[in-house]
Symmetry: C2
Subunit: 342 residues, 2 copies
DNA sequence: TATATTAGCGCAATCGATTGCATTTGCTGG
DNA sequence: CCAGCAAATGCAATCGATTGCGCTAATATA
């Protein structure tokens, strides 16, 4: 049980009777090293339990094999699943992942970018915070030529690779589904209009109404923080203004639960009197009474796509490569809260 | 918009007219460097936008300023909050955090330990996976003298620092609360008996019964995977065996939701006919109908404590320091599902 | 047989920051 | 005025792996 005598390639070199250069090349399967030597080196390495020092290697060729991820909060099934997708892809290629949370705080997001740059990550994947309306902190990433990929919460103000779902289409389908179920006065819960996903979901909602000959009533669109309490308040706003809605399509699952609670409190029957559809397929949407219809965003797919984009950037000639916007299709999950036919 | 001409301390040295040694010392606020020189160096560093290369520094003094965290899954409010607590403490001390998920897979846990060791982290914090009953993979961590802290899902088979909540007491209080509310035939949902937290929660449950003169009936203790479906199945087992229970204390929030659903399906009134208490205070416990009583584990506190323990280890003389077991108190949150008095 | 190749490996510099030891400069006291 | 000491800085090695270039010996070609 002796201490930690660091084992380096020099120890292997001594053991085998060659130099460290040869050991290094052997370990990296360099073509100019004979098979015999390679085997000896590999055997010796195993024998003395050699572990490469990634830090030294990183210093030498400037690659840390680290990918930084920034999400608003990992405490969402959606985001943690994306991370899982990224991890799967990255680990398979011997990259490690560093996860950071911005907590939707602009300053923290800026600081986190700095921190990742300090840590010399080889690439950064970001889902923007809600309060990020300025993108200067990404300029330095771009200028350094570090691969940058945005996912889900992205912006068009920056020319970067991104992976998103078809928010427009998903919202369209969700709204359309409500219309098919006979609802006609459909409200929409949304958030900051500066954020792309909310813009798109609103657009899909409007178009579905239009295509079905239903008048768009701006008073039925309510903006909130998209949390539980936001959903409650938005519901009250609708009720207080006596707008006579018979359904809600919410851009967030949390907000739709708030609505569900408030409506049940005043004995509104779901889905008979009011239909509900959320967004994100958070696990709890399957736990409520009634269960909630929602949109599944294929988070793991999104993570894998984002990682794939990153590795394309790593391997490709960065220079004049045009940026890609990968759009994934989401899945409308129909549960009890919006099914009143049959 | 030119490329990335790496800026090093040598550039500063050139600018200021000293050597790199002096620059390094100035940046690190070494006492042997004059205030004048320090100021010049700092100014020059800012002027040419110098960013220290942590990798080079890491190579030199063998510290990466990285902490590795392993949790079964980040996709639990409890774990992500712990991570948040660790992050807060660590970032304040200029340490970065690497999060990895074991997905309760023993092999993945072993591989992750290897990966973190490869990445030369300065310390590792772990919450064990459900299927980890062998701890050899931690021996190498210990032998290398790398600080190791366990939290929540720990084991006593390893002599390491740990942070846990008082599972025994929390379970005792939860059970006692149910008894106070007049329930007498209290079932308990649990999981693998090899896991400390479940042992302790069972123990607390038993003791509360004992102290209140209620007979312990082993048939009322049901083991499952502690997921939603596990809770459903466990409930059915109780019902099918006609055991006449009037309350359930579950060691998991997911399982108690499963019970809630199944009981509501057959029109059992909660809390009038059956009282329910879960464990973990997952967000959705506030969303169900009725809302669920549960135990809040003060996850952020736990994370901060774990980080604090880590930094103690970093600063202290590791050698003969006895290992610490920090026990935090949890909070019973009483909601509608267990409140039938008044 | 003499020269041209090529395979196989070693030498030494390098990545950027750190640090023990040496050196220079400046000041104090005798 | 000079030894003596402290303050401030420089020199050069070091952390471990990588890699361009060069060297040697063996094989191939003429």
């Amino acid at each position: 049980m002796r201490k930690k005598e660091k084992i380096t390639i020099h120890d292997i070199a001594l053991e085998v009777g060659v130099t460290a250069s040869t050991v290094s090349r052997a370990l990296n399967n360099h073509p100019r090293i004979s098979a015999t030597t390679k085997k000896m080196v590999l055997d010796a390495a195993k024998a003395i339990n050699y572990k490469p020092n990634r830090i030294a290697a990183a210093l030498r060729h400037g690659k840390s094999k680290l990918i930084g991820i920034i999400v608003p909060t990992i405490n969402r099934n959606f985001f943690s699943s994306i991370v899982r997708g990224i991890e799967e892809h990255a680990n398979a290629l011997d990259y490690k992942v560093m996860i950071s949370q911005s907590y939707d705080d602009y300053k923290k997001e800026v600081a986190t970018i700095e921190a990742l740059l300090d840590a010399r990550v080889d690439g950064i994947m970001v889902s923007l915070g809600k309060n990020t309306h300025n993108f200067n902190h990404f300029e330095s990433v771009l200028q350094k030529g570090i691969p940058l990929v945005f996912f889900d919460r992205t912006t068009d103000k920056l020319n970067v690779n991104q992976v998103i779902i078809n928010d427009y289409l998903s919202a369209y389908q969700a709204t359309n589904h409500l219309i098919e179920q006979g609802y006609r006065h459909i409200a929409h819960f949304t958030s900051h209009m500066k954020i792309r996903i909310y813009q798109e979901r609103l657009r899909g909602y409007e178009q579905a109404l239009l295509d079905n000959g239903i008048n768009f009533d701006p008073r039925l669109v309510v903006e909130s923080n998209m949390q539980l309490d936001g959903g409650q308040k938005s519901t009250h706003r609708l009720l207080d203004n006596n707008l006579g809605f018979d359904a809600i399509f919410s851009a967030s699952d949390y907000a739709i639960v708030g609505a569900l609670q408030e409506l049940k409190r005043i004995n509104v029957k779901i889905p008979q009197e009011v239909g509900l559809v959320g967004f994100s397929n958070e696990p709890f949407t399957a736990f409520t009474e009634p269960t909630l219809s929602t949109v599944d965003q294929k988070a793991i797919d999104m993570g894998q796509s984002a990682a794939a984009l990153f590795f394309e950037m790593v391997n490709a000639d960065q220079r004049n490569k045009p940026k890609v916007k990968k759009v994934l299709d989401a899945n409308l999950i129909i549960r009890a809260s919006s099914k009143r036919l049959q």
